[in-house]
């Protein structure tokens, strides 16, 4: 395990020094890698560890983005504070969704439909609120300063996104080894058996969805202040909901490094193919490649790429010792 921590430390050191050697475009790709790794990790808490499939997680990104942006524009509140208000709103919405789903025993596809419904309803509602920019969304004024969460160049975003990703890895690691994480996994594996042992499944389901939703919404604030434009269709839409679950699925569900590995593979692939095919007038082809990759992974590596990564790294890092 010591070797493993050394390995992690060296990866971290490389990531910390990397901006010295990258141009703006390359930095942008890394920002997206960290961003999607973080989102995948947040989603992983609810779906990977607790076993409830959410296909509407963009909902919480939208909530985070809109809350902090609205508060910044209307009241001049710094997004650094607004993001926590957004997290609170996300938790409230998640509790409503969770109450309906968990109290009334909606499981499997019915829970999935519930999550989609919540995201779609919110998308439509936001699309009709003039104060939130209606259908056309909100352009953020570019006033770069630390308190405005806006910066020139990609280097600050790079470090913030990296911080987000590291935070999520540590948070999920702490959850995984705690009583909370163990109960979440028990619920995922067999809710009745967990209840029979005395696990209050409803309570732990609600905690899981609250953690997942609040973490996801923080990324929404980041996204708004990175792109400077928020729009209901792209922030609450199914496209983003699906985009953010592909990485943990391909990397490995219910594992700490699955979403990270998934993002390091998929995000550059997506960015590069998007740019490459757009030049040739083949916009959208990258999505087909994406889809094929997802199908192949699900068919041939149902537990994710992480299993193979572990197998390759094991002789060097001695992962099996202790742990």
């Amino acid at each position: 395990m010591t070797r493993f921590y050394l390995f992690l430390a060296s990866v971290l050191a490389v990531l910390l020094l990397l901006p010295l050697f990258l141009d703006k475009y390359e930095l942008g790709i890394f920002v997206m890698i960290f961003f999607y790794a973080y989102l995948g990790q947040s989603w992983n808490v609810l779906t990977g560890y607790t076993g409830h499939i959410s296909l509407g997680h963009a909902l919480y990104i939208g909530i985070g983005a809109y809350t902090s942006t609205y508060l910044a524009q209307a009241f001049g509140l710094s997004p650094w504070i607004g993001m926590w208000v957004g997290a609170l709103v996300a938790v409230v919405v998640a509790f409503c969704l969770g109450y309906l789903g968990f109290r009334f025993g909606l499981r499997g596809v019915y829970f999935v439909i519930l999550t989609i419904a919540f995201a779609e309803i919110t998308r439509l509602v936001v699309s009709h609120i003039a104060a939130l920019g209606s259908f056309s969304g909100i352009f953020l004024d570019f006033k770069p300063s630390f308190s405005n969460f806006q910066f020139t160049g990609n280097i600050p975003y790079y470090y913030i996104a990296l911080g987000f990703m590291i935070f999520s890895v540590i948070a999920v690691r702490l959850i995984e080894t705690s009583k909370l994480g163990r109960f979440m996994v028990a619920i995922r594996e067999d809710e009745d058996a967990a209840q029979a042992l005395g696990v209050n499944a409803f309570k732990y389901n609600m905690i899981a969805i609250a953690i997942s939703a609040s973490m996801t919404s923080l990324a929404g604030t980041f996204y708004a202040n990175y792109i400077f434009y928020i729009h209901p269709d792209s922030l609450f839409g199914m496209g983003l909901s699906i985009e953010l679950i592909l990485r943990p699925i391909i990397g490995g569900l219910g594992t700490i490094f699955g979403p990270v590995i998934g993002s390091f593979i998929l995000t550059p692939l997506s960015e590069i193919t998007r740019a490459y095919f757009a030049k040739g007038g083949l916009e959208g082809l990258h999505l087909i490649i994406y889809g094929i990759l997802a199908i192949l992974v699900v068919l041939f590596m149902p537990k994710g790429i992480i299993i193979y990564v572990k197998r390759v790294l094991n002789p060097i890092l001695k992962l099996d010792e202790e742990n």
Binding site: T177, S178, K179, R182, F183, V185, A186, E189, D190, D192, A193, A194, Q195, A196, L197, G198, V199, N200, A201
Partner: protein
């Protein structure tokens, strides 16, 4: 004072009376066998006692306190803990982690929960399997795991639903011995079992139900000679053929 007393418990599914006005008591420290032909309603009784199915009528008193209409997890935390006839291991985590879920209900510290769990695992003879994923276990060991998890919650009453089904005679004897030791630690046991060898060896008293109704109750040796019981298991013709 009975640790568990059930009065006039009834449960029907549509037109089918699965349990009908069933009353019985479990004394502290006892082992009570609950037997009956297939479909007699034994598992439904367990489901009602542990809150998985709300009973239509009747009273369930655990330590003189009603546990009717309580959530399953709450009943389990009070100390009325069941196992499942169709075992439900947490498949993708290790045997130790499975048992730790039970231990963590009453023990806050992960380290202590791990120690307690290891002791229980050793006690049940699963020591070599502690770090194996539960999906790698064959049925007899899964049954033991089911028992281990329940024990880890520090129950006052164990409701064992056919823990011996599907085991060979040697394994049955081993489980009988283990249940005796569990009982000797002061845990009262309600046992659903088809394996008569197990029921006869363990139970101080036996309760026989058929079509959800009690048809006999008493010490095992007498109950198996009861005409009503033989009829329920083997039919009227068998009785008349015997004369």
């Amino acid at each position: 004072m009975s640790i568990l007393s059930v009065n006039q418990l009834s449960k029907s599914f549509g037109g089918l009376m699965a349990v009908k006005e069933l009353s019985f008591k479990l004394e502290k420290g006892d082992i009570l066998g609950l037997i009956g032909p297939n479909g007699a309603g034994k598992t439904t009784v367990f489901n009602c006692l542990t809150g998985f199915i709300p009973p239509d009528q009747g009273e369930i008193l655990f330590h003189e306190k009603s546990v009717k209409d309580m959530q399953p997890y709450k009943i389990s935390q009070l100390g009325l803990v069941r196992t499942f006839q169709i075992v439900k291991p947490f498949l993708t985590i290790s045997v130790l982690d499975n048992v730790m879920v039970g231990a963590l209900i009453k023990e806050k510290s992960i380290t202590k929960a791990r120690q307690e769990s290891m002791e229980i695992i050793e006690f049940l003879g699963l020591g070599r399997m502690a770090n194996v994923e539960a999906q790698g276990l064959p049925l007899p060991l899964r049954k033991k795991l089911e028992l281990a998890r329940a024990l880890a919650t520090k129950p006052k009453i164990l409701l064992l639903d056919e823990v011996m089904a599907g085991l060979n005679p040697t394994e049955v004897d081993e489980i009988i011995d283990l249940i005796r030791q569990v009982n000797a630690r002061g845990i009262s046991i309600l046992l659903i079992e088809h394996v008569m060898r197990g029921v006869m060896a363990l139970s101080q008293r036996v309760l026989v139900i058929n079509y959800g109704k009690k048809i006999a109750e008493g010490i095992p040796e007498e109950v198996v000679k009861d005409k009503g019981v033989i009829e329920a298991y083997l039919g009227k013709e068998f009785l008349s053929a015997q004369g």
